[in-house]
Symmetry: C2
Subunit: 312 residues, 2 copies
């Protein structure tokens, strides 16, 4: 079975949306990536850090879903990373209310020996130096995917450029792509990012879908139109987990198969936003995913006869 | 040959975008709809009104493209409708600088006898009472498509509801759909609009594409990612022209074929925004449209094996 190594936060989140408010619940980029990629029945493992305030039930949830947690360090007497945020009414933007780095402040990631030969690596949102450290511990991965955010552009620019240079795929949201490149046009932004290192650029546009760029090729997947988005927290990470999960499962990193990976990512993300936090991902079944893939097909596939006849 | 009757403005526009500024150039909803639908080699005709300040060259352009202009009234001593606007830097919004109704203030549309049996009607943006008057002059059209905007929601609410009740398809932008229904979710908004009359609802999201709703079915077409949008003026009307042009040409008003119509609409609109005003539409060729349809196919079509095997 192919191995996927995930690095990122495992954390507490407190979330407020127009629909309600949570106490400290399970959160973190690696958590969402792990739960999402676990749907592909691959051998995936998380490298992260928590304090001993982190409930065993959260770790058991990951284990029960098939996620290896040997690389999650538990710091005695330490406190787990905590983020709280409040979404605006349209759910397209949010304010961070509080960030407590806690044990994350001194995180030295250690990749378990059995995952040092992982075929694919998902560098979830974290300090670029932590991401780089993980990369240095793995031998010849077939594919490395990076997710990052504006915080590191503002606070660790040089380190961020170093890690961007070393990855094959970057997933980033539209405003961050613009900030990273100074280009308003996403087509131009993607081209500039490719010059920084990655061969493939995925730009996430939230409710407006996601774009995959590779040289002159572009693929687009919409977000599924939902009656109500309940809580967008983790949607981007869930997208990334679905994207790389499909690639690990199939072992095929062609552009054609990355299109499918983007569809899987969008499909998984469409579930994530239906409930608070990880709640929906905890109960998600393969049959539900299949049904929703069909919805994506109905949503986007058409049949126009082109002249000359189309060649796939 | 199937007939399409178009009603809407034929006008002067003065446009300012971050890329430049025009004097009074050819504009108007019916102009864009006419130029776009003319690409389908159908028998299309415009009902509109201009002043005698309107240059013959503009009318000849329409005629040369195959658009019948017998229904364009020329008012002696009258001045043509004039709109000027300035786009914001991201081109997603604009300010109206000036609107001169001129001859449009007293427009009583007269549908030429030979178009009173037109199979399809495109009610372009105009006062709802003018749209209703056109509808009353045609016999049993197979399909009526309505385009409207927020201005009529603010200024002619009751009349607008009357015309909405009588049409089969409405095309409307996302913010306007929200204003019309008080629903933020576009899925809910579309459902409410269907309750007002139309069987099909097309919500245009500008650079974020377009959604087609019919009962429980949804189809989505992205806007083609462009390096640069030069001038969005007329894009919505050009979309509408491509949409109904394909329906008139094929005579097929099934949901499946409306999907293709949405793709044609998006394709035509993607050209419109490449240059100022109608400039790009004036030189557009069928071969260019075919090539861009292939780009849309590459952009959106994927191939995931579903279980059980998909049935189209």
């Amino acid at each position: 079975m192919s191995k996927l190594l995930i690095v990122g936060t495992v954390a507490f989140d407190a979330i407020e949306t127009p629909f309600g408010k949570t106490d400290k619940i399970l959160g973190g980029a690696a958590t969402y990536i792990g739960l999402s990629s676990a749907q592909f029945e691959i051998d995936n493992a998380i490298v992260s850090i928590v304090g001993d305030d982190f409930p065993n039930t959260h770790l058991e949830l990951l284990t029960n879903k098939g996620v290896n947690i040997d690389g999650i360090e538990i710091v005695k007497g330490g406190k787990t990373f905590f983020w709280s945020g409040k979404y605006h009414n349209d759910l397209n933007s949010r304010d961070t209310l509080e960030t407590q780095l806690n044990v994350l402040a001194d995180f030295n990631p250690v990749v378990p020996a059995v995952y040092q030969d992982a075929e694919m690596i998902m560098l979830g949102n974290l300090h670029p130096l932590v991401q780089l450290s993980v990369l240095e511990q793995v031998k010849n991965p077939k594919l490395v995917v990076l997710d990052t955010m504006n915080f590191w552009m503002d606070n660790a620019w040089d380190d961020l450029l170093k890690v961007i240079k070393k990855v094959d795929v970057i997933t980033i949201n539209d405003e961050e792509a613009r900030q990273l490149t100074g280009e308003h046009s996403l087509v131009k932004a993607a081209r500039k990012i490719e010059e920084m290192g990655p061969d493939y650029v995925v730009i996430k546009k939230g409710e407006h879908g996601a774009l995959l760029f590779h040289e002159e090729q572009i693929f687009f997947a919409p977000a599924l139109p939902l009656e109500e988005v309940f809580d967008p927290t983790g949607a981007g990470d869930t997208f990334a987990g679905g994207f790389i999960g499909h690639l690990v499962k199939t072992g095929d990193i062609s552009f054609e198969n990355m299109k499918n990976a983007v569809i899987y990512g969008s499909t998984l993300a469409s579930f994530c936003v239906e409930k608070f936090g990880t709640e929906r991902m905890e109960t998600l079944t393969k049959q539900e995913i299949q049904l929703r893939l069909r919805e994506f097909e109905n949503l986007t596939q058409f049949d126009i006869e082109l002249t000359p006849k189309k060649v796939r």
